[in-house]
Point group: C2
Chain length 353, copies 2
C-alpha cells in the first residue's frame, strides 16, 4: 500500500506543510506565514496544529511513515538543538526537536533547510537520475547540500554542506561567518543587491541608480531585468556571480567528482545572466570537469576539437538548474522519514483495499 509523510518547510517568512505520498505525489499543501515575532512557542504550536490537521485528514489514505521538518540554520543532529539561525531570531540553542516531539507525541526527523532542498531535488527534481549530487541554493544567503549514495552527508555534527561559505576570494567582502569572500557574499540575492549599490556608488551605473531611486522594491530581480535589457553594470554583476559560482563548483568537482551539481533558489532564475561566466570559469579552473564535461560543452571552448584529456568512458559532469522551485525543501522534508527507516507493511492496508 501507499504510505505518506508530512513535510514541513519552516522558513523565516513562510511556514509550509505538505502531505506527500511515497510515490512523490503531493496530497495537500498548507502555506501560512511564520509569525516569528510572536515567539518560538507560538510558531511551534501553529506548526504542530497544522501537522495534526493533515495527519487526521489523510489517516485513512495509508500509513503515516513519519514527519520531516526542514529548518533554516544549523542543527546539531545528535541533540536536535538549533545551534544558529539568522532567520529565526531567539531560537539560538533551542531544543526544537524535543519541543516538537513533546507536542506531537511522536518522533520527527529534523534537517537543515538547504539539505532538505538537496534531498527534494534528488528525489523528484533535477537529481532524480543520480545517486550523488551537490546542490547550491542561491537565496538571501547561499545554502548547500551534499547527497552521497542517495543520502544527505551530515558529517560529524550535522554541519556539513555549508557550501555558501566556500572562499572564492580571500580579499573579498567580509562575511558574517568571520571569513572573507565567501560564495554567499557574491552569489546570493543579498550580494547582488549590495553589488548594485556599490556600482551606483561609483557613479558609473546611471540606469541602476535610477532604478534604485524609482523602485522602492529594488531587488536582485530588478538587477536581473536590467541585465537582460543590456545594462552593462548589471551584466557585470551577474558575470561576477557566475565567476564566483565557477570557482566554488570547480572546487567541488575537484573534491567530489560527482555526476551532478544543481543550482536552485531565487537567484537561479537569473541563470542566463550568470551561466556563461560560471561555465567558462569552471572549465578553466577544473581539469576534472574538463575530463568529464559533456563534449558539446568542451567543444564550445576548444573550438570544435575534443581535447586529449577527455576520458574515454565519457561519463559526464552535469551542471544544471533545480526543477522544484520553492517546493524543493518541502518535498525533501517529506522524504526524510521515508529514508530514515524502511517502509513497514501494516495491518491497516485493508483500509484502502
Amino acid at each position: 500500500m501507499t504510505t505518506f509523510a508530512i513535510g514541513v518547510d519552516l522558513g523565516g517568512t513562510n511556514l509550509r506543510i505538505a502531505a506527500v505520498d511515497s510515490n512523490g505525489k503531493t496530497l495537500e499543501k498548507i502555506t501560512t506565514s511564520t509569525e516569528v515575532t510572536r515567539g518560538r512557542n507560538y510558531v511551534i504550536d501553529e506548526m504542530c496544529a497544522a501537522i495534526q490537521q493533515l495527519i487526521t485528514r489523510f489517516r485513512d489514505a495509508g500509513e503515516l511513515s513519519g514527519i520531516g521538518i526542514g529548518v533554516p540554520g544549523i542543527i546539531e543532529m545528535q541533540t536536535g538543538m538549533l545551534h544558529e539561525s539568522p532567520n529565526l531570531p531567539g531560537w539560538h540553542n533551542y531544543p526544537v526537536r524535543d519541543e516538537i516531539e513533546r507536542r506531537l507525541g511522536t518522533t520527527v526527523v529534523l534537517e537543515n533547510d538547504a539539505n532538505a532542498a538537496a534531498l527534494g531535488e534528488k528525489w523528484l527534481g533535477a537529481g532524480a537520475s543520480v545517486d550523488d549530487m551537490c546542490m547550491l541554493t542561491l537565496g538571501t544567503g547561499v545554502g548547500g547540500g551534499v547527497v552521497l549514495n542517495g543520502k544527505v552527508w551530515h558529517g560529524m555534527t550535522g554541519m556539513a554542506g555549508e557550501l555558501g561559505h566556500i572562499c572564492v576570494d580571500p580579499q573579498g567582502p567580509p562575511c558574517n561567518c568571520g571569513s572573507r569572500g565567501c560564495l554567499e557574499q557574491i552569489a546570493s540575492a543579498t550580494a547582488v543587491k549590495r553589488m548594485a549599490v556599490e556600482a551606483v556608488a561609483t557613479g558609473k551605473a546611471p540606469e541602476l541608480a535610477r532604478a534604485m531611486t524609482e523602485d522602492p522594491e529594488f531587488s536582485s530581480k530588478v538587477v536581473h531585468q536590467m541585465a537582460i535589457q543590456g545594462d552593462e553594470p548589471a551584466r557585470e554583476i551577474f558575470r561576477r556571480v557566475g565567476s564566483a559560482l565557477g570557482i566554488a563548483i570547480a572546487g567541488l568537482v575537484n573534491i567530489f567528482n560527482l555526476p551532478m551539481y544543481v543550482i536552485g533558489g531565487g537567484v537561479s532564475s537569473s541563470w542566463d545572466a550568470f551561466a556563461p561566466s560560471m561555465m567558462e570559469t569552471l572549465r578553466r579552473n577544473s581539469f576534472v570537469y574538463r575530463a568529464t564535461a559533456p563534449i558539446e560543452s568542451v567543444r564550445g571552448v576548444q573550438g570544435g576539437s575534443v581535447p586529449d584529456d577527455i576520458l574515454p568512458s565519457r561519463r559526464t559532469t552535469i551542471i544544471t538548474r533545480a526543477l522544484l522551485g520553492s517546493d524543493a525543501g518541502l518535498i525533501g522534508a517529506a522524504r526524510l522519514p521515508m529514508l530514515a527507516r524502511p517502509v513497514r507493511k501494516t495491518e491497516t492496508s485493508s483500509k484502502i483495499a
Copy 2:
C-alpha cells in the same frame, strides 16, 4: 589465520614493494629506483618480478589477499587506464592495470598514490581512530585523499580528492591544471622553492640569496632551516603556506565536517613553521571549525573564554600531522585488496597452525 597482501608504491623516483599482513605488520619491504628512462614495459617487468618474489617468499605464511598498487596520476577506475601522470612521462593513456594483470596472471587493485597514502594513514597512522578523514600530501605537488566510511571516495570516474587544486587565491600563480592559485602552487615543496626564488628577486632576502648561491641542493628544506633560524623572508614563505592551507582546510571543514584532516608529505616536516598561520586562518575562515575545535585551540584565540558558538556535544575537529612518513602510500596500497573483498577462511590455515 593471518592473511597478507602485497603493496606497491610506484613513484616517479622510487619503486617500493612490501608484504604486509592483515594485522598491519610489514613482513618485508623492497626499495629500488624506478628506471623511468628505460620505458614503461621495463618498469612494469621489474615491479612484477619483485611482486612475484615476495609472493613466493611468504607463500607459507598465510593466504595472499591480493595486490594493491599506488600510482601517481589519475587512474580511470573503470578501465584501469593511467589518464595523466606528470611523474611517469610516456604512460599517458597506458592500460597499466591490464599490463600488470597480464604479467602476473591475477587481478590487482590500482589506486592513485595520494588516495593510497590517505588509506594508509587511516589504517595504521593518524586516522586509525576515525572512519572519515581527508589527507593532504605536501610533496612535489599537493595530493589529496578523501576517506568516507573507511573507504576512499572515488567519485564518478575515480578523479575525486584532487585537493591540491582547490583554489586558494583566484589571482594567484598559474597552475599546470589551467587554473590559478591552486593550493599546490603555494603549499608544495616546488612552490616553497619558487617563492624563495621570488623573494630573492625582490632583493630583500639576502640570506636566502646567499643560501641559493652556495647550496647546489637548495630546496624547500633549506628554506625551512632558515625559517627556524629566524630569517624573516623564509618565515614569511611558510606563513603563506600556512595561510593557503588554512583557506583550503576551512573549505573542506565547511563542506565535509569530518573529525580529522591529516597533513603529510615532505613539507609537513615544516609543521612548526606553517601551523600557526594555518590554524589562525582556519579558525577565522570556518565557523564549522570554531564550533567543533578542541577547546584549548579556541581558547588560544579568544583569550581564555569559550565562545558562545561552541557546540555542547564537543565533538572535535582534529588537524594533525601524518604518522607514517613516506610509508603511508605503501601501507595504503597493501590495504586496498583487504578492503576489496572480505578475508576468506581458507583450507591452508593448517600451514601455520
